[in-house]
């Protein structure tokens, strides 16, 4: 093709780029319409509505959906978030420490807990009492859930903080040190506050991830008052042999995660303008 002389078939006008684009767009619309028609024709809407959106079953979820399930989801997520925020900052500082063994410990921790599926951590937590006889995670299931989320979350949060700490220019530390601040004082007063500000958007995203991962608490074998959204929806779904409660639980997650996602991107935009 390429070695064909350009003068060949001058009569057959090539399609202009604009024309090509129009045709391409037309094809895309056709594909979309065909797909929609297929879904509308072949889906059994009655059965779908019966199984996924049955109002009576949805009604049975109230008010515990909010008073127990959502409340617990938030307890697990916020608890895990506080854990991972504090531990993540400590790990990030260790990761950047001058003391080599600290760096190693932080690297090993981060690699392990980022590399393992969160579910596996939760399964291990169930066996913790067997491994450590007499040991019990405080605050019962809350403690176990928060521990699991914190262990995983802190590994991710450590990397977020590390990026933030490294993004603070070296001149900031130098200015602080030249004023007579000790290395620690300079970190606490000058570097860490700037790093924390910079990582607010990714940290918000981390919180959203924890909120979703709190569904893994299901595998801790919780019941009653400790139940969070996923488990709550699943139990109710089994009870009614109907998937509606799971859909309702899903909508409840979105109620929290979508606004938080918007918040994160707005914070990101503001940071871009202020810098």
């Amino acid at each position: 093709m390429a070695d064909q002389p350009k003068t060949a078939e001058p009569a057959r006008a090539r399609l202009s780029p604009r024309k090509k684009q129009q045709i391409s767009r037309g094809i895309q619309y056709v594909v979309l319409i065909v797909a929609l028609v297929a879904v509308v024709l072949y889906a059994d809407w009655g059965s779908l509505a019966q199984n996924f959106a049955k109002p009576e079953v949805a009604g049975a979820a109230l008010p515990e959906l909010f008073t127990v399930a959502l409340r617990n989801t938030i307890i697990y997520a916020v608890g895990g978030f506080i854990f991972s925020f504090v531990a993540g900052l400590v790990l990030a500082l260790m990761r950047l420490s001058q003391v080599r063994p600290y760096r190693w410990i932080a690297i090993v921790y981060i690699e392990i807990f980022r590399g393992l599926p969160a579910l596996l951590i939760f399964l291990l937590i169930v066996f913790l009492p067997l491994a450590l006889p007499g040991f019990e995670v405080p605050f019962g299931t809350y403690g176990q859930g928060i521990l699991g989320l914190g262990l995983v979350g802190s590994a991710y949060q450590a990397e977020v903080f590390r990026a933030g700490l490294q993004a603070v220019p070296k001149g900031q530390t130098e200015a602080a040190r030249s004023l007579g601040m000790s290395a620690t004082r300079a970190q606490v007063t000058v570097v860490i506050p700037q790093a924390v500000r910079m990582v607010i958007p990714p940290t918000t995203n981390q919180f959203v991830a924890l909120l979703k991962d709190s569904s893994l608490v299901l595998f801790l074998g919780v019941s009653g008052e400790y139940v969070e959204l996923a488990k709550f929806g699943n139990d109710l779904a089994s009870e009614h042999a109907n998937a509606t409660p799971i859909m309702v639980a899903g909508l409840t997650y979105l109620l929290v995660t979508i606004p938080l996602g918007y918040l994160a991107s707005r914070l990101e935009g503001r940071k871009g303008r202020n810098r």
Partner: protein, 247 residues
């Protein structure tokens, strides 16, 4: 009399790159010494060795008779007495101008909030940005930021001030404001070591001008002599390039 700053056989290597090749230099109390020279000549490194932002590879640094390079010395205590002004200002962006000038007073000198604020306002007024106390650095022009940075250093009551190309990052029309503040400081008798490309300032304000090239001091003397009638060929060539850049 003890020197304000004394450098003895100062060497600094970065890896295999030898930036300072044996500097001997003394600055007397109340003197204003300008260090000039081509980029890469080691002037900034020399300045940064005085308060140990760079650790010299060899040689000794004394400030007011105290050996800074002594490993047992409390470097934070010494730095309290040495103000430093950077090319890139390095103001703390998360604090207002006022907080920038207060923070080290409070955390390092343990001054109370009220006292720190009074001192901060005094110094901000002195450098002509008293009206900008509540502005964040990002809301200030480069010239204003640099003057806040000078106020921040002055608020610690330093015995001497180090200036590392303080006007090099400024738009040309803002250079004058900063130089005026520095000139005022010099007239008040502040000991100053200034790395600069501002030949006019060096000539009028400095007591001595030091020309560095290739990690050594090539020429050291009165400004009128070093800038007006350099003895060394290297100094002459450099000044010619700086003063007549288009030839």
């Amino acid at each position: 009399m003890t020197h304000a700053i004394e450098l003895r056989d100062l060497h600094k290597h970065f890896g295999r790159n030898e930036v300072l090749k044996g500097i001997d230099l003394a600055v007397e109390p109340g003197q204003v010494v300008c260090v000039i020279g081509p980029s890469g000549s080691g002037k900034s490194t020399l300045l940064r060795c005085v308060n140990l932002l760079e650790q010299p590879t060899r040689g000794k640094v004394f400030v007011s008779g105290v050996e800074v390079t002594d490993p047992d010395v409390d470097i934070d205590a010494i730095r309290r007495h040495i103000g430093m002004v950077f090319q890139q200002f390095n103001l703390f962006p998360h604090m207002t101008a006022l907080q920038n000038v207060m923070i080290a007073q409070q955390r390092v000198l343990k001054r109370g909030r009220r006292e720190a604020e009074v001192v901060a306002r005094e110094n901000l007024d002195k450098v002509g940005v008293g009206a900008k106390c509540d502005a964040l650095p990002g809301q200030l022009s480069g010239g204003q930021q640099q003057r806040v940075a000078i106020a921040r250093a002055l608020a610690m009551n330093p015995d001497l001030m180090l200036f590392d190309e303080p006007t090099s990052a400024l738009d040309p029309e803002l250079v004058g404001d900063v130089l005026t503040v520095m000139r005022k400081l010099a007239e008040e008798g502040m000991t100053m070591l200034v790395v600069t490309h501002e030949m006019g300032f060096a000539r009028e304000v400095a007591d001595r001008v030091v020309f560095m090239d290739g990690g050594v001091v090539v020429e050291d003397g009165e400004p009128a002599q070093v800038i007006g009638d350099p003895r060394q060929e290297r100094t002459r060539a450099f000044l010619h390039r700086v003063l007549h850049p288009e030839e």
